[in-house]
């Protein structure tokens, strides 16, 4: 077992592998790669025209394989990783279509089945493609796909569909949110808790970007699991469901606080700031969420605020 001094000496003796990529460069590359991927999909899709499920699967596999090869060639992400990212995005759309056709052919295409196929695809991408930015994006998309799947399987209908929509009870509203987001929160908790274990097992290149994607998912993607009509800020209409779904923004704000704690544990100040912004967004959304009276919301917020301040004081006393 190395002593602390030996550890520090060994760390200093490591050849400089370069600093981590700042979040804003990742954002720039991610956005550009995503748009380029969509354009490539349009172009290559028009050239090869894969109309059937197997055709689309084959087309997608070729694109993702090309992306995989490019990522392997350019491990530092210096030259061709943007091309690889764009190829992968284009390939993933084709694979999504192909997977959906293969898994659910014959059934009427539903949002839940597409979301489930998307979830499987994104998990596979996380495991397969050896690139940090790609793994972060795939994890984030996997979170979104899972949340959309849970939502449309259990209680929602597409926004524009006709007929009455289900109004969940308190239990269903809580259960729905728990099913959508507790798996991601649990995975993140394990990632933080078991950090030395996966570092020692040589899995940091896989788990670290996954943890970043989960933090972003818990911070921001929770917005996507809310009913669309909860974003209509122009007064309650007959179409707006009244019910316990109003609690979801508050639960999402709490998830953002949890994500902040994970970002702190993993030493990422950038993610910490982003999650604080997400928590504020959720709190503003809570004001507009239909289903509970403003008075109830206000009492809930006051009680929570008082509890938080009391907890902060207690912690400060223990620190002093």
């Amino acid at each position: 077992m190395m002593t602390a001094d030996e550890l520090l000496l060994a760390a200093r003796a490591l050849p400089s592998g370069g600093p981590e990529r700042p979040w804003y460069i990742g954002l720039l590359l991610g956005v550009a790669g995503w748009f380029a991927g969509l354009l490539l999909l349009v172009f290559l899709g028009a050239v090869f025209m894969p109309k059937s499920g197997p055709g689309a699967l084959a087309f997608g596999v070729v694109m993702v394989a090309a992306a995989f090869a490019l990522f392997r060639l350019d491990r530092d992400g210096a030259f061709v990783s943007q091309l690889a990212l764009a190829l992968s995005i284009a390939g993933q759309f084709a694979l999504l279509f192909g997977l959906h056709e293969a898994l659910f052919s014959g059934a009427s295409p539903g949002i839940a089945s597409i979301a489930f196929a998307g979830f499987i695809l994104q998990v596979a991408m996380v495991l397969l493609l050896p690139n940090n930015l790609h793994r972060v994006m795939s994890t984030l998309f996997a979170c979104i796909a899972w949340a959309v799947f849970v939502r449309y399987v259990f209680w929602d209908k597409p926004f524009l569909s006709s007929g009455p929509k289900i109004t969940p009870s308190l239990g269903m509203a809580l259960l729905g949110w728990v099913m959508a987001w507790v798996p991601a929160a649990g995975a993140l908790y394990l990632a933080v808790r078991k950090e030395p274990s996966w570092m020692a097992a040589g899995r940091a290149a896989l788990v670290r970007p996954v943890a970043t994607g989960l933090i972003l998912g818990l911070g921001f993607a929770t917005l996507l699991s809310h009913p669309f009509e909860s974003f209509t800020f122009w007064g309650a209409s007959a179409d707006v469901r009244q019910g316990w779904l109003a609690l979801w923004p508050l639960l999402s704000a709490l998830a953002s606080l949890g994500a902040m704690a994970a970002a702190f544990a993993l030493g990422s100040r950038g993610l910490l700031g982003l999650c604080a912004l997400a928590a504020l967004l959720h709190m503003s959304h809570f004001y507009y969420a239909m289903g509970a009276s403003l008075l109830f919301k206000s009492l809930l917020m006051l009680a929570m605020g008082a509890a938080c301040i009391a907890a902060a004081r207690a912690l400060r006393k223990r620190t002093a």
């Binding site: 550890l7 981590e20 700042p22």
Partner: protein, 329 residues
């Protein structure tokens, strides 16, 4: 110590789980119990203050119809006075004073909105935001806080965005920008200059890093939109195209502003963020220009744009990471 270094250390030295845990602890990469307590106390305090503030706002909104005009003003003014009083009692740089001034900035806007709503002053919404910014600048200055400056700067930018979005025949545009014939892209460009200037100023004032970044982000958003509007308008015909005489000035002006900022950033070698924003802006502008140049008779231009995005973003990633490595060394 950065996690990336520790990951490599653990891998190269083949450390086991307990040694990896020790490496995280010894290098201070993993927060200890005391650090967690301080973090959680700060987190709970911030969350508690935000929740209490939101709770009060929700309560006021819930009972709004029951208050008369006097009651509404009294309520907001009492809250405003309490915030200013708190700042006087526990002045900045204390956290209580700074928080009080941030809330006072927000409440001043609420009071102005209530005034406008009650007495139907006929003022445009952008005027509300400009008046709000003008009246609360002393609070931002007194606070010596990034949060207060960030809030104030956002108020100013909402006003600028609303003003830039005004339709051309509106009174506000004729009064302030109509007579010299200032077009929308020029207004957007001026908003960009204000923000980029603000970003430089905030850096000079040694305010927290992120405030300068927020101002720079607003500046690049305005500047990029200004240039794209010029390019898109150039695609028009007749009067619309002829009206865009200021387009060249806008594009050259934004280019000059970007070059000046790039020069300053490269000289200081402190933060790569402005360079990333400059490059991102020009990738967007050049892509818009390419789209404007091409005719979409077939799908080849789509492929060209995809390649352009890949090539420019790859080059951007390479250059930006080179700077990150060199400047942090």
């Amino acid at each position: 110590m950065k996690r990336s270094v520790l990951d490599r250390l653990v891998l190269e030295q083949r450390l086991n789980e307990s040694a990896a845990a020790a490496a995280l602890d010894v290098t201070g990469a993993r927060p200890d119990r005391a650090a967690w307590r301080v973090f959680l106390a700060t987190l709970f305090n911030g969350a508690g203050l935000a929740a209490l503030g939101a709770g009060v706002i929700f309560f006021v909104a819930a009972n709004w119809q029951d208050y008369g005009v006097i009651g509404r003003f009294a309520l907001l003014q009492v809250a405003f006075a309490a915030c200013v009083g708190l700042a006087l009692w526990r002045p900045p740089p204390g956290v209580a004073g700074q928080s009080g001034l941030v809330l006072a900035i927000v409440l001043a806007g609420t009071l102005l909105a209530l005034f406008g709503q009650t007495y139907q002053t006929g003022a445009d919404v952008y005027e509300l935001f400009f008046a709000w910014a003008a009246l609360t600048i002393p609070f931002a200055v007194a606070s010596r806080s990034g949060a207060a400056w960030g809030t104030w700067w956002t108020v100013l930018n909402v006003g600028l965005a609303l003003y830039c979005g005004l339709p051309e025949p509106s009174l506000g545009r004729i009064l302030w920008a109509g007579s010299p014939g200032i077009e929308r892209p020029t207004l957007l460009f001026l908003a960009a200059v204000i923000n980029l200037g603000g970003s430089v100023l905030f850096t000079q004032l040694a305010l927290p890093h992120w405030v300068a970044r927020v101002a720079a982000t607003y500046g690049f958003l305005f500047g990029t939109v200004a240039c794209i509007v010029v390019i898109v308008k150039g695609a028009g015909h007749g009067a619309e195209a002829a009206a865009s005489k200021q387009g060249a000035i806008v594009i050259l002006g934004f280019l000059a502003a970007c070059l000046a900022l790039a020069y300053d950033t490269l000289r200081r070698r402190l933060d790569v963020f402005p360079m990333a924003a400059i490059i991102g802006s020009w990738i967007a502008i050049s892509t818009a220009f390419l789209i404007r140049l091409m005719t979409f008779d077939n799908l080849a231009p789509v492929f060209v744009i995809a390649l352009w995005l890949i090539a420019t973003s790859s080059a951007a990633g390479f250059v930006l990471m080179k700077w990150v490595r060199e400047w942090r060394a």
